[in-house]
Symmetry: C2
Subunit: 259 residues, 2 copies
């Protein structure tokens, strides 16, 4: 049997709150076996933009990554957030290696093609250099990815962290039995969005389709679940969605997704 690998993505709200972040990193550092962390940016980029007097660029109600927004994203995601996490993990004896997709050319992307909207410097993932990642994991390093990639031609690109996590998990499933964790502020997928006790403990593809038909899935959760089943359809073993208690050995209060 292939060895196990954990690919864990943390959301912006956990990064925001330094106590929550410390609690998360402490749990993360105790996860056994090879593992990868992917982090979003959170509101720090928004607050830096505001301080610099940069207004968010919007087209048809969608946020666009213009040149200024990209520069802020690079400073906050690859700089402040990534290095803070790496340093804190090192203090927990977890040998973190901070990465953007450009580093060691691990993730190659293209600037999102313009259809009805020009998203600016937004990247869609094209390929993952699995061999390089394997060599990092085999030497005991713990890759920590920020939500940036590049196009191999010198252009950095803002890239969705959920997608980075699922594409990494898919690419590494050839060598590992991969579990993908989406860790955010809610305890899991909720049957009733207003009731945090209504966590659905297990969703398979059949249940997913019936939740879709019954329009039971909240707006924000839809792309997340789509991403999860895309990963499961591409050889990822299991996907888990929950809050930071999910990574603790005794926790059972989260949502597990399988085919």
């Amino acid at each position: 049997m292939k060895p196990a690998l954990s690919v864990i993505k943390i959301g912006g709200n956990i990064i925001e709150d330094s106590t929550e972040l410390s609690r998360f990193l402490s749990s993360f550092s105790r996860v056994q076996g090879p593992k990868i962390l992917v982090h979003g940016g959170g509101k720090k980029a928004t607050s830096l933009s505001e301080k610099l007097g940069i207004k968010p660029s919007m087209v048809k109600g969608r946020r666009i990554t213009d040149a200024q927004a990209l520069e802020v994203a690079i400073m906050v995601y690859a700089g402040l957030v990534n290095k803070t996490i790496v340093s804190k993990l090192q203090a927990l004896q977890c040998n973190a290696l901070g990465l953007s997709g450009a580093d060691a050319a691990v993730i190659k992307a293209i600037k999102r093609p313009v259809k009805s909207i020009d998203y600016g410097f937004a990247g869609d993932i094209v390929s993952i250099r699995t061999k390089t990642l394997l060599s990092f994991l085999e030497t005991g390093l713990v890759p920590v990815f920020c939500a940036l990639t590049d196009d191999g031609q010198g252009q950095l690109l803002n890239t969705n962290a959920d997608t980075i996590a699922s594409e990494l998990a898919i690419a590494l499933s050839s060598e590992y039995r991969t579990t993908l964790y989406y860790c955010f502020e809610k305890p899991g997928v909720l049957a009733n969005v207003y009731d945090e006790a209504s966590v659905i403990s297990h969703i398979n593809k059949q249940a997913y389709y019936s939740l879709l038909r019954e329009k039971q899935i909240s707006e924000g959760m839809l792309p997340k679940l789509e991403n999860c089943f895309h990963a499961l359809d591409h050889s990822v073993h299991k996907v888990c969605i929950g809050d930071i208690t999910m990574l603790q050995a005794k926790s059972s209060n989260f949502t597990t997704l399988t085919l």
Copy 2:
């Protein structure tokens, strides 16, 4: 004989100017054999601080890294400057891996002890994890270091880029015949600081001492040369000081230092 290694440090003025930076990176990408780049931060950190209304903290005429200055340094050095360089090098088929000292715990430092001045979050290098660096170099990766380290206890520290370069060169001299390059805006060590044609082509230790006695070395060059002879005293094969033409095969207009 040991294989050759180039450790190349570029100064802030080259980073400032995007045309100069592109010219430098193009030369750097053509340097044969294993190599490491170390970059300073340049004035981008100062200009970001100004935009954010952060005043530089000074004690006894010395610049101090307070918490705000450290945050700016992390965003600019590890974020904007490092990832821009990494992405540009990837476009030149140079497999760059951006690093701070915290990443893979490659450089361990301590907060500079307070004597007459408290420099704040300034780091002095304690040790280099040579084995990890060797494994990166052996797989063809090109480490690109920004001027940040950490103390292994979760505290990032602002660290002199010249010192990072010389300590890396020293640590790797056990395995490589290492040449250390200091690449800045001047063509080398000048006999007359006002005359750029007065490059001293070779300085050995004896010549260095006589330049010191004659007070011929400019204020700004003194710590640089001290650093160079410290490296040579600790097994570094050769140190070269010059502008970006220095890395070109046919260039001979720069200063070489040997014992």
